[in-house]
């Protein structure tokens, strides 16, 4: 079936239309973030602001300790993401390469833990972590990442390692390499796309996490950015232009990480297809 040129023009048109539709809310937020507040709540609001108020972004940062929230989030992410990558890669390696008694049961556990709703675990986790004295610390947000890093990530590594020929690790094993060496020096470099995907997923997860910080953190100076944004809702409900500016700023780190990692994930897709 040859793809006709009219068909591909139509497809491009549809793609661009959908892209615009998806980007529209962000663009709308951006125009508001640049508007003076008088223009936002006027009935004759122009589609685009008459003058660009970049100072709104600075005002938004000053209205609440926004940079501190960003720093808090960075701290959580920096400690959690490596743990998620490392421990899920280790478990994925075990599932892909090792045999042990009870492996079948472990596979079942893995699938089960994939569908256990987080809402059910919320209260027991709270009781456990407050019994450990971890309330008002970042430990409830970071330590779980070091314990397997999420069933989905384990699954991702498992599936990726399966596609790597066994000859690679057999060769390393004959040279006397340990499992640790094989994982870190042989498998992980090949599995770069899986590492990038896990990194992206767990970065996004920890950056966006809202309910857990809401439960565990009570001092606003320790809030991560997702929780900090809510302060604008409370204190500056009428300053909607600042709320939009802060919301957009909170998305910038995700965007940066996404654009950096996307390339690695995408090359993998292309390579695996050829």
């Amino acid at each position: 079936m040859r793809v006709s040129s009219t068909a591909s023009v139509l497809r491009y048109a549809a793609l661009i239309a959908v892209a615009l539709l998806l980007a529209a809310p962000l663009l709308a937020a951006f125009t508001i973030a640049l508007s003076p507040i008088e223009e936002v709540y006027s009935t004759t609001r122009p589609t685009f602001p008459t003058s660009l108020h970049w100072s709104n972004f600075f005002d938004a940062i000053e209205k609440v300790p926004f940079l501190r929230f960003i720093a808090n989030s960075m701290l959580i992410v920096m400690f959690a993401v490596p743990g998620a990558i490392l421990t899920s890669a280790m478990a994925g390696y075990a599932f892909a390469r090792l045999q042990w008694k009870g492996k079948k049961a472990c596979v079942l556990f893995l699938f089960c833990s994939l569908v256990v709703p987080a809402q059910v675990l919320l209260i027991p986790h709270f009781v456990l972590f407050s019994w450990l004295g971890w309330v008002n610390t970042y430990k409830p947000l970071i330590v779980p990442a070091w314990l397997g890093g999420g069933a989905f990530n384990v699954f991702l590594f498992w599936q990726f390692f399966r596609t790597i020929p066994r000859d690679y690790d057999d060769a390393a094993r004959l040279d006397g390499a340990s499992h640790w060496f094989i994982l870190t020096r042989v498998m992980l470099p090949i599995a770069k796309p899986a590492v990038a995907a896990t990194c992206l997923l767990s970065f996004v997860y920890h950056w966006q996490e809202f309910q857990k910080p809401l439960i565990y953190l009570s001092d606003f100076r320790t809030y991560p950015v997702a929780l900090g944004l809510r302060m604008y809702q409370a204190t500056g409900g009428s300053w909607i232009n600042l709320v939009m500016a802060a919301s957009l700023l909170a998305l910038v780190p995700i965007l940066v990480v996404f654009l950096c990692l996307q390339r690695h994930i995408d090359t993998a897709k292309r390579e695996s297809k050829t």
Binding site: L15, A29, A91, W100, C106, P117, P124, P144, L147, A246
Partner: protein, 335 residues
């Protein structure tokens, strides 16, 4: 050779598995058991003196109303209000979550499928569009919920001004049939109204559907183009090819997206917590919000909230298992 390999495997292998195994035991299975036990006690989380065994009273109260249930030592605050009726707030929350999921899950599956079909073409620059379509999914969080709450602002938001413009455009046509034209047509109140708050949240939810697109796209790329070509030569039109070749091969992806989408939407907390207001008259009171309020706002009824969570869990498990079981009827697996 072989036995040595095997032995090293089992020894250091257990170390590799250890973090995950501890995680599953301590953070998944033990808490599940604990939630189950906790649902039979009344406890405010403070000290053991405040802890008392109430048996199945919470379940009676939640599902049947507490008139006939055995009384625990601590009289629950809601016991005086309700008689013979299931906990009205829980019932309402459950109904809201189910209604939301019934619309959000099929709509996001359908739009994810449509987007995946659109992306599944060897066009130049398609990688850009793939990234772009995935973006809302990674951006979906508190920030985007706040952005959407502005977009949906009934008086000043951009969506309603677009709708108003559309009304103005079709006004002359409508005037031919109706004297008043579109002047009397109401604008949706979105998050400020009881009827429109759920469609509003469904809209936000569908906007963040990026993950499902990629599951579908991966499945679409595995569909053999030769089968399509053969069917094309035999005179099958595009609709027949979609229905008889593409869709059957996509059913495993549909099953996966259905179950994960359902579990996620039944648990969505952010929308309810961030967008809740009085004008909605509890239209956005989702189960997750009700569980949160019961457990983490005074009087901190951890046991009662656990019972709610357990009911949610059993419901989700039942629906997931049913969907999984039904796969033999509609899911196509290649041999």
């Amino acid at each position: 050779m072989k036995p040595t390999l095997q032995r090293t495997s089992s020894r250091s292998g257990s170390l590799f598995l250890l973090p995950w195994l501890i995680g599953v035991a301590v953070l998944v299975f033990a808490p599940l058991m604990f939630a189950w036990v906790l649902s039979f006690v009344e406890w405010d989380g403070s000290s053991q003196q405040h802890l008392s065994w109430v048996g199945s009273q919470h379940y009676c109260e939640l599902l049947l109303g507490d008139a006939e249930s055995p009384r625990g030592p601590i009289a629950s605050p809601s016991s005086s209000a309700s008689d013979q009726q299931a906990d009205p707030m829980f019932y309402k929350a459950m109904r809201n979550s189910v209604t939301f999921s019934l619309f959000a899950v099929p709509l996001s599956l359908f739009s994810a499928f449509a987007l995946a079909m659109l992306l599944n073409a060897p066009l130049r620059g398609i990688a850009w569009f793939r990234s772009l379509f995935y973006m809302p999914h990674v951006l979906g969080g508190v920030a985007t919920v706040l952005i959407w709450s502005w977009v949906l602002n009934p008086a000043f938001g951009p969506l309603n001004s677009i709708i108003q413009t559309a009304y103005d455009v079709i006004d002359p046509v409508v005037r031919l049939f109706h004297k008043s034209g579109t002047a009397a047509w109401p604008l949706p109140g979105w998050l400020m109204s009881k009827t429109w708050c759920k469609p509003a949240v469904v809209l936000i939810h569908v906007w963040t559907t990026g993950g499902a697109v990629f599951i579908f796209l991966a499945a679409l790329q595995r569909v053999d183009p030769d089968t399509h070509l053969a069917a094309h030569l035999d005179g099958a039109n595009a609709w027949q090819r979609l229905r008889l070749i593409t869709l059957p091969q996509l059913t495993p992806a549909i099953l996966f997206n259905l179950i994960t989408g359902l579990v996620a939407s039944m648990q969505s907390f952010n929308y309810a917590y961030l967008l809740y207001n009085r004008a909605q008259e509890d239209g956005l009171l989702f189960v997750s919000l009700q569980i949160y309020r019961t457990a983490f706002e005074p009087p901190y009824r951890l046991g009662y909230a656990s019972a709610m969570a357990c009911i949610l869990f059993v419901l989700l498990l039942g629906v997931s298992l049913f969907a999984f079981w039904s796969r033999r009827i509609w899911v196509h697996y290649e041999s």
